[in-house]
Structure formats: C-alpha cells, structure tokens
Amino acid sequence: MTKNNNGLILEVNNLVVRYETMDGIVRAVNGIDLKLGYKRTLGLVGETGAGKTTTALALLRLVPDPPGIVECEKLEIDGENILTFDSDKLDQIRGKDISMIFQDPMTALNPVYTVGEQIAESIELHEHVSKTEALKRAGDMLELVGIPRSRANDYPHQFSGGMKQRVVIAIALACNPQLLLADEPTTALDVTIQAQVLELMHELKEKYNTSMIMITHDLGIVAEICDEVAVMYAGRIVEEGTLEKVFNHTKHPYTEGLFNSLPNVKDRKAKLKPIKGLMPDPMDLPPGCAFAPRCDYATEACTQKVPTLTSIDEAHRVACIRYDEPDFHIERRILS
C-alpha cells in the first residue's frame, strides 16, 4: 500500500445523518467515528432504530437525499477521501472496492435476470471484461459460494432463501472488494441455514483478505465472526473495542442490558432481565445521555450532557460518565 492511510481500510470522523421530514427532523446518526484495519471484522450492534443501516448507507453515500442530509468530517476508504467523489467515481468504487449485502435476499435480486447474469453484470461493469469472460467468472463465483455452476442459468425464484443469500454474497464478492458491508445478512434465514451462510462468509473473508462491517442485533453472531465490536444506541456508539474487551469486560449499562435480556441456553431458571422502557424517538432525543431514561445507574448528571466516547485502554472505549467512579460496576450475568 502506497497510500497514506495509516493501515486503515476505513476511517470515519464525526458522521452525522439526519432526515428532514414534514413531521420533524429524524436524528438517525449523531456523530460517530469508525476506524477499521485491513482484514478486520467490525460488528455494529444495536436494536431497531439505532442507526446501524443508515450508517452503512452513509458509508456508501447511498442515503437518499432528500430527505437525508449527511455531514461528515472525514470519510476515507482505503486512504481515498470519498466525500470529494462525484457520482461517476462513486459508481466505480461501489461494488468494486466496497460492496454491501442486504438483509432480505428475496428482494435484493432482480427476478427477470438469471443469477449468472446478475453476478456477471457487476464484473462486466467494473473489470471491463467481455460478456463471456464475465459469465465464466460468475460461474466461478457460484462454485465459490457452494452452488453448482450449472445453476447460473436459473432465475432467483428457483432458489430457496439460503441459496439466494449465497447468490447475493457472490455478487457482493464478485469484484473482490476490500470492504464488505453486511446488513443483517442472516436475519431472514433459518438457524441451520444461518450457520451455513456465516461459515461461508467467514471462509471467504479469510481467503480474500476482505475487511468487513457486520451489522447485526445478534450478539451470538458477533461472538462468532467479529474481531471488534461497536455498540450503537440512538445514533451514537456507546461502547466499542475488541470482542474480548466488550464481551468479557463490559462497561456500558446498555451493553450490559443487551446481554442480560438474552435467554441463557445454559441456565434456564435464570430470570431474564430486560431493559426497562423503550428506544427513544429519534425525532425527540432526550438531553444528555440518550440511554439515561432507561438506565438503572443514571444520575442527575447523566441527563445534563452527552457523554463522549472515552478510552479505558487502547482497545476499549465507552461513552458513560460513570464508568470510572469507584463504586460503579456493571452486573453482568455470567454466561458460562
């Protein structure tokens, strides 16, 4: 790598996305920073409305405008500032350097083209090869994701859900992107199929040295394939760090709440400890820490000022003003 990118595939500073609608301003993403090294996988965790998908769309510069407004201090992919790119140049990198896997494989494929053609389309577009060459490479991609080459001439409706998601992965990986954004890629699938797809993604990532951002609400999936974790709540990152730090040395009350509300396979008698209350309305975020109204540890000070993401050590950061108070500690249920 000759580019000056500090060994990072992705660097984002202070990303803000809001949607200005007739009813008011929806504050979807409120200033997040992301850094991702080569070959690393970041798990972006959060519930509905946390701003995960909007973040991913903003990285691809695909937030619909209007009503979406994106502000960002720095957005560099592989050392290139894509904020300055015009739409032609963006089209060149989308699908080639950075590509996305969407949640619903049923709607991500075009029903009137064969899967082979759909994979080939991306290759043809970005690698400027002939149609026959592209189709041949599409066949290779299908085999890579575990579908026989002979099925390249089939249409999407002839595939089951899990197979379709494999095709979507094949399209996303066709041009060997450096960064893959996967938005809940297995949520629509059955457990046994999910296991197959996750395994496949893991293998391919290793094989092609791809960096990945895995958007999910499932902490189990994060534990399985991510190296780093960022937990999002109401458009902000509340805790981030390596997998080990966040999972075994949880610091933020929201992360704690997420863990404690999961049913435990090992201990069935344990009572679930849900997080009280509901996600705040992104049109009307509470002042101070957005989690404060639902937090058992919140004090008066929490409602005054938005906590900044502070480093605990070099591999762990948390946005909570109480984390270093001596009498403050999280009651994380032990899973094993």
């Binding site: 509905t48 899990g162 046994t192 999910q194 509300s261």
Partner: protein, 316 residues
C-alpha cells in the same frame, strides 16, 4: 397427578397443491399438562404454525383428534366450537398484521368481550379493558390510540391483552417475540411467564428460537417436515439431544460467549419440499448419520428414555 388439558392424536393437515399433496402436518400426537408449557420447535416449513392453527380449528385438520378437557373439538359443530373458543386463544407473531389498523386499542381489547357477550354494559367493559391493559403493562392513556401509533412491543402487549380478555385456559403463542428487538423480547417473555404463574395458563409455545424455548418450556417437541423427530422434557433435550437434527439445531445457535468454542454440526443442503414426499425418514437427505435403513421407511417415535421420544432408526 397427571392432568392433561389438551391431547393431540394423529393430527394431519394436507394441502392440495398443483404439484401434489403438501404434507404440512403429518400424523403428530402429543399431550400437554395443565399449567405447563409445551415448546413446539422447528424451522420454517416444518408445520409448527399449521399445527397451532389446526388445534384451534382456524385451519380444519385433514384428520385426527384434538381432545380439549375430554372433548374432541374436531367433532364440535360451528356453534359449539364458537363457545369453546373462549377457552383457547392465540397470540400472533407479527404485531403489525395481527391488529386491525382501523380499530383503537380499546376496541381491539374489548372485541372478544363484546362478541361473546361477557360484559354487556359499555362502561363496565371499558373498566375491564383498563384492567387488562394494566395486567399486560400498557399505560392507561393509550386506550384510544391506534396500533400504528405504537411500537412493536406495545402492540404485542395489546395482542396478549386481547387473548387474555376471555380468560382462556390455553394460549397458543405463535412466535410471539421473534419480530421484536432483543431488549423488548425479554420484557414480553417475562410478562408471559408472570401471567402463566398468576393465572395458571397453559401455553403452546411455537418458535424457531431454541434459546427462548429453553427458558420458557417444560417439554419440547422438535418438528421437521411435518413430523415430530424428538420429544422430551426440556432438561433432557438440552443435555442429551439424541436425534441428529436436534443436535444440529442446537449446535447452530450462535452463543454470545467467548469462552465456549463448540464444535458445530453443519448440515448439508436445505429443507426439502413437503410435496409428494418419498417413504423415507424426512431428515435422511440432509442427515450426517444416514444409513440404508433410513431410506426404507419412516422411523416410528420410540421412547428411548423415560418420557424421551425419538424418531430415528440409528438411535433407537
């Protein structure tokens, strides 16, 4: 001590399709004790939802018996069945499509009470609605809101209140939390558990989420392609799963725990089409332990340990 509230015997539901007979539910039998929870587990297309609806006769079963408190409800006339519905209710998966968008919270919860003429007086009915709302943890001020103004968790609470309105004895929960966020899931699961304890309810808990069912159920029935493959008390099933499918299913759950590195059993292929099935073990095409015998007939459900039933030639 055994007090079965519901017994399902040889329940079958076939659908006619253009390609042949679809065996959605294929000869299943089980019993539920009063006040207990039966988990009905399986992946999409295994027939678990069809089973739930056939028990309530929301779908007419092709054949078989559903014996509720000693009465085979499949033999009841329309009018008799309507009366029985008071005792058997259902909570749906999708909190968005299970509530009529044109009705207020009040109208939705009051509907079963009004329809069955339990409380005729309008004001008393509203009092009862408020009482039910309190039971399921809905704020009183929401009484005249419309479902679309509320979030998934609250909508699911409305669905639960509606099911509770007639004080049923058994409730079929069809994936009641799978459409909800993790933190809300726990709220609803806890609520269902509390209601069971305070009202002595019996649940059939239909789900694909083994972790939730483990937390919730007393007995578990695992289904695959319309058949029961394994049936056992919950501790047994989790500590000693026998059927190859159950083991694969258990190993496929991603666990948010770094200390545990499990060996995953990965299954080949996907669930086959339930139309015109050959006369062999349903799981044979994907099974990693398949022997010749499995291809020659359907394995019977055999008791391998006390109360632990398995349908597999290899393991019985």
């Amino acid at each position: 001590m055994s007090d079965p509230i519901l017994e399902v015997r040889n329940l079958k539901k076939y659908f006619k399709t253009s390609r042949g007979m679809l065996h959605a539910v294929d000869d299943i039998s089980f019993t539920i004790e009063r006040g207990k929870t039966l988990g009905l587990v399986g992946e999409s297309g295994c027939g678990k939802s069809t089973t739930g609806r056939a028990i309530l006769r929301l779908i007419e079963p092709t054949s078989g018996e559903v014996i509720f408190e000693g009465v085979d409800i499949c033999k009841l006339s329309g009018e008799q069945m309507r009366k029985k519905r008071k005792d058997m209710q259902i909570i749906f998966q999708d909190p968005f499509s299970s509530l009529d968008p044109k009705k207020t919270v009040n109208q939705i919860i009051a509907e079963p009470i009004r329809e069955n003429r339990i409380i005729r007086d309008k004001h008393k009915r509203e009092d009862r609605v408020l009482e039910l709302m309190e039971t399921v943890g809905l704020a009183e001020r929401l009484i005249n809101t419309y479902p679309h103004e509320l979030d998934g968790g609250r909508r699911q609470r409305i669905g639960i209140a509606r099911a509770l309105a007639m004080e049923p004895k058994i409730i079929i929960c069809d994936e009641p939390v799978s459409a909800l966020d993790v933190s809300i899931q726990a709220q609803i699961l806890n609520l269902l558990k509390e209601l069971q304890e305070s009202m002595g309810l019996t649940y059939i808990f239909i789900t694909h989420d083994l972790a939730a069912v483990n937390h919730f159920s007393d007995d578990i029935t695992v289904m695959y392609l319309g058949k029961i493959v394994e049936k056992a008390p919950v501790e047994d099933l989790f500590t000693n799963p026998i059927h190859p499918y159950t083991r694969a299913l258990l190993s496929a759950i991603p666990v948010p725990d770094l200390s545990e590195k499990r060996r995953r059993i990965s299954l080949k292929g996907e669930i086959t089409s339930p139309v015109n099935l050959p006369d062999e073990c349903r799981f044979a095409p994907r099974c990693y332990e398949c022997i010749d015998r499995c291809r020659q007939g359907i394995p019977p459900l055999v008791e391998v340990a006390p109360n632990h039933f398995v349908s597999c030639f290899v393991h019985s």
